[in-house]
């Protein structure tokens, strides 16, 4: 079903009385009003810079006083090398300790001490319409607050597994049957064919599509899976490289996408998100989301479109962080 909105028009066609631009919702005077909240952003945000171009490309949320930072994993893939600023301080040679595909999180470590982490013991219970504060822009020393409001119900964002083989499949006679191979996908390169029946995944037997999807969801782009397939009378084992869904199927897909500007490539399949209306772009996610009282609600994870931004709720962030710490031997 298509969504209706008239075409984008030039604002010059609306003449009449105009509010001075500095009085608008996200402009300078509002930043001054938000200055009591700015200190929380200043303390607990990290700014990730592309070392080559020396520009910020994503934010991070400080989760350990000893230099542990969470950020949006898929944005890290976009640069070769990066450095980090916290406050006015610059940290070279950060290490990526662990990635979590389900939440699109990366745990990064810099050599630091005495940082002020966000409070992970809180909860994300918050009434619709509550003001929020996110990172809007940044210079070398200062993080700038951008206002928003909680704009819809907390929920799961569906969207299939983030890493994909590049196949379409369905259950036929109780068997997982390949119905489509996507061009330039790992599936095509591996020699997988239409009509193949999937019977094994990384040494395990799989019987139905739901189980198969669950196994895929735990995998990351770039990983190789061993697929056991049945083709006519033959049983074959194929190595298939997974690709990021947004890379294989990416690009603006709808009219709403084309009017949304610079949105996050990975913006779906999150088990739970808080949604807020904040003017964010792909480059301004990764940082913390606060209330006016400086209560930490979660971490901004996607600029989904022109009107919707998503944050991982603090409860989910806390449990993912524990898992990632264990996985990195911390």
């Amino acid at each position: 079903m298509k969504s209706i909105i008239t075409s984008i028009i030039l604002s010059s066609s609306v003449l009449g009385n105009t509010l001075p631009s500095e009085q608008r919702k996200t402009n300078k005077s509002m930043q001054a009003t938000l200055s009591p909240v700015q200190k929380y952003l200043q303390e607990s945000s990290a700014v990730f810079y592309d070392s080559k171009r020396r520009v910020p490309f994503v934010y991070g949320t400080i989760v350990g006083s000893d230099g542990l930072i969470l950020t949006k994993a898929s944005e890290l893939d976009e640069v070769e090398e990066f450095y980090i600023r916290i406050g006015a301080e610059r940290y070279k040679e950060p290490t990526i300790l662990n990635k979590n595909e389900t939440w699109d999180l990366a745990l990064v470590k810099v050599e630091a001490e005495g940082l002020i982490p966000v409070k992970l013991d809180g909860n994300s219970e918050v009434e619709l319409g509550t003001w929020t504060v996110s990172n809007g822009a940044s210079d070398r020393k200062t993080r700038r607050p951008r206002p928003g409001i909680i704009s819809a119900n907390k929920r799961e964002i569906k969207g299939g597994s983030p890493a994909v083989l590049g196949v379409g499949f369905k259950m036929e006679d109780d068997k997982i049957t390949i119905t489509k191979i996507t061009e330039d996908s790992g599936a095509e390169k591996s020699g997988l064919e239409k009509g193949d029946i999937i019977i094994g995944f990384d040494g395990k037997e799989v019987g139905d599509d739901k189980e198969f999807i669950e196994l895929l969801k735990a995998k990351a782009a770039g990983e190789i899976v061993k697929l056991k397939i049945q083709r006519d009378e033959e049983v074959l084992e194929l190595d298939v490289e997974l690709m990021a869904r947004h890379k294989l199927f990416g690009g603006p897909q709808s009219r709403n996408d084309s009017m949304s500007g610079d949105f996050s490539e990975r913006r779906s399949s999150f088990p739970m998100v808080l949604q807020h209306e904040t003017m964010l772009s792909a480059r301004s996610v990764g940082g913390p989301l606060f209330t006016l009282d400086g209560r930490f609600l979660g971490m901004n994870i996607a600029a989904a479109n022109r009107v919707e931004a998503f944050a991982i709720p603090v409860e989910n962030l806390k449990s993912s962080l524990s898992e990632m710490k264990i996985a990195s031997g911390l």
Binding site: M1, L19, E22, Q23, M30, M279
Partner: protein
């Protein structure tokens, strides 16, 4: 008699009181403190549940827009480019997923105002609208709508902003809108509808709404299903432009019109009419070549013609929607 007079006076005083109760934060150049922001938030939140109950998703053919109920019997304000025409069948979806049937009433093709009526019986949750044109530039506003179409898990999307520009037939806010929001309501912080979402500008925080005064200027015409004005938001049906896709000849027994040929996938064929069927009535009168011709001569593409026909066993009657000539 005395009592009635007293009540009138009392009501008069109340409404003057309402005007005096202008929310203080609307007159600040910018909120000065977090408490000012909290006051804005509280005002909005106190009106949010009522406003959400009255905001609906409108599904028309393949498209999806928004609207807002303004009377207990189900009068809905929306945008002309959402309904697209007069007399269109609309599915009205409440936030909880309850569906009602509705039909589009009048529209203004120049300003993008439109109305529709829920045809199921009410009462429906509704909100008040700004009858006094009381809003001013800089007023804080909130915007509701089914962005991108109905999504039960998400619910209605809430946006906040200020009135940043006022012109004769358009008001502009810095709430953010997207496809699917069209036709949805813009509220002031007392919970009154002050505008209907129409279109967006190139920047994200540039949203245009039809002010309520534009609805009020043509309220009766819109209610009685008039097509008002000419402009970019709806195409007025051109009489004689409607295509039915059916060839007929006078039946030998003069009982109606015999269908001799049908345009493949044309409106008549889609309605279920078959070659050999007998058309009995057109627009409620006995079918003749002249009647069919003159009826079609008055109707345009997108409008409907009432046809009664029989295939021998059973008799059917349907409103067949005319299309553009292929």
């Amino acid at each position: 008699m005395k009592l009635r007079k007293a009540i009138y006076i009392f009501l008069g005083v109340l409404s003057m009181q309402a005007l005096a109760d202008r929310l203080y934060f609307n007159d600040l150049a910018t909120p000065k403190s977090l408490d000012d922001l909290r006051a804005i938030q509280e005002a909005m939140q106190s009106n949010l549940s009522r406003a959400r109950e009255a905001t609906v998703c409108l599904q028309i053919g393949e498209g999806s827009g928004s609207g807002v109920i303004v009377s207990p019997d189900g009068l809905v304000l929306t945008a002309a480019h959402v309904t697209g025409g007069v007399g269109e069948e609309v599915t009205v979806v409440m936030e909880d997923g309850t569906e009602y049937q509705g039909v589009s009433l009048g529209l203004n093709a120049k300003t993008d105002a439109a109305m529709l009526k829920i045809t199921d019986s009410g009462p429906f949750p509704f909100v008040k609208y700004d009858k006094d044109d009381a809003t001013k530039l800089g007023d804080w506003v909130f915007s509701l709508g089914h962005s991108g179409g109905y999504d039960k898990a998400r619910g209605i999307n809430v946006r906040i902003g200020r009135l940043v520009r006022e012109a004769e037939t358009t008001i502009q806010s810095d709430c953010m809108l997207i496809g699917g929001d069209s036709g949805g309501p813009l509220f002031d912080m007392t919970g009154k509808v002050i505008g209907i979402h129409s279109r967006v500008g190139a920047s994200k925080e540039e949203s245009m709404h039809v002010p309520l005064r534009e609805f009020q200027a043509h309220w009766e015409e819109l209610e009685k299903s008039d097509f008002v004005g000419e402009g970019p938001f709806a195409k007025k049906p051109v009489p004689g432009s409607g295509f039915l896709g059916m060839m007929v000849e006078e039946d030998s027994e003069k009982k109606g019109l015999r269908v001799t040929e049908l345009w493949e996938k044309g409106p008549a064929e889609k309605a279920g009419i078959k070659v050999g069927d007998l058309i009995l009535e057109v627009e409620g009168e006995s079918a003749t070549q002249e009647l069919l011709k003159s009826s079609l001569g008055q109707l345009g593409s997108g409008q409907k013609i009432l046809i009664k026909w029989t295939g021998g066993k059973e008799t059917k009657e349907k409103e067949v929607k005319l299309e553009d000539r292929p």
